[in-house]
Symmetry: C3
Subunit: 165 residues, 3 copies
């Protein structure tokens, strides 16, 4: 079934790779939405830590919080913020890279597997970093799974598009 769709949607021009008719692209849409939802959740986690520890960075936020000073460097807030920044540094490149990778028309099964594993590893990364800190190397491992997948995708695309350098 998948194979038929692919064969239909991948004529000589490859026009339909970034469209709903390509199951790999649909898989990408699903997992990228999940990752973006997760990234948004980091903002709420930060806000929860800010309210819990009364750590506000802007003077205009103090009135709401009934505290009298701006504060920085609360360790709980900073942990969530580091996790969030790590997302910016890794999830956004993963999303952009996977899109470029899907646009190159890779083998459907490989591509779907890479997207699923890469996205799941980032979900795990957030849990062991910001929600329930676990001893290393859990975080390093989940970090390097997605890291490796993005590298693989980048090298795949570099080779596929090298003549357009």
């Amino acid at each position: 079934m998948n194979n038929e769709t692919i064969n239909m949607s991948e004529p000589a021009t490859g026009t339909a790779l970034l469209s709903k008719s390509n199951p790999v692209f649909c898989c990408y849409l699903f997992w990228s939405s999940l990752l973006i939802l997760k990234m948004l959740l980091m903002s709420l986690l930060t806000a929860r830590q800010r309210i819990k520890t009364k750590t506000f960075a802007n003077p205009e936020d103090l009135r709401v919080a009934k505290t009298s000073d701006v504060r920085f460097n609360d360790p709980n807030v900073e942990r969530v913020r580091r996790a969030h920044r790590n997302d910016l540094e890794n999830v956004l490149p993963f999303l952009l890279m996977s899109l470029a990778y899907v646009a190159c028309g890779p083998h459907p099964l490989t591509a779907k597997l890479l997207i699923r594993i890469g996205a799941s590893a980032r979900l795990l990364h957030t849990i062991v970093y910001a929600v329930l800190p676990l001893p290393q190397p859990t975080r390093a491992l989940s970090f390097f799974i997605t890291f490796g997948i993005v590298c693989f995708e980048a090298i795949y695309v570099l080779i596929a598009a090298v003549k357009y350098i």
Copy 2:
């Protein structure tokens, strides 16, 4: 007119959703360009604050500024940097999510409305955060409008693509 275009551009394959012939995609192009221009402007705002308060983070920048020490933590510089980081955390996910949403072929009027409101709210957010700090809840409100729209788009795409999980 819009409906005709959509009907024409959305045959069984949905090939043409990410193309100039889809008015929703054109609307996305317009507003995403505006948001990216605004994000670039944040760099200039930061530079202006750095020069005004002589707060430079790199030793090699000091010669240009005729000051003798690197400085950090100037409140004016930090405010613009927080606003900029907030953009990274929210505008980039908004742009990626809206692209995925448009690729799913949502109802054209709804989609255009969401893109317009989401982008406008971020423009407002920057003004009340970095240019003319206003008392809360102005900033919180403009933040949560875009936040809610990205959540809606993500859930829409998750449901539309759930069978490709």
Copy 3:
């Protein structure tokens, strides 16, 4: 040869602009992969500086490093982190903006030139910021080349899509 491909892939609908059959898009794919690989490398550079200077921000990382305190604000680590953040603020908008620009069907030669120069300038920026700090204005120059290109692309797309505001 290029012109033929473009003419073939750009009928009235412009369907095929974001596809492998468009050489400009292929050029975009190549350079965006290179930039994303470079961004990932920043994580490794940060890790190298963290290990070299034993500056770890998370308590659970200490056991691995055989040090007893979390540390912040090491100047070598912070320099790489500033360079990385600068990438987030500029490379990601460059990638998203160039994608929108390619989707508008610009003149192929101009578009390819802008993508090549913009991406190369960011590669240079990283070298003179994080690897081999050079006196200004080398960094400022490489920064503003990409900055200007993104502005140009944004204004191009704004004008092309203005009637879909």
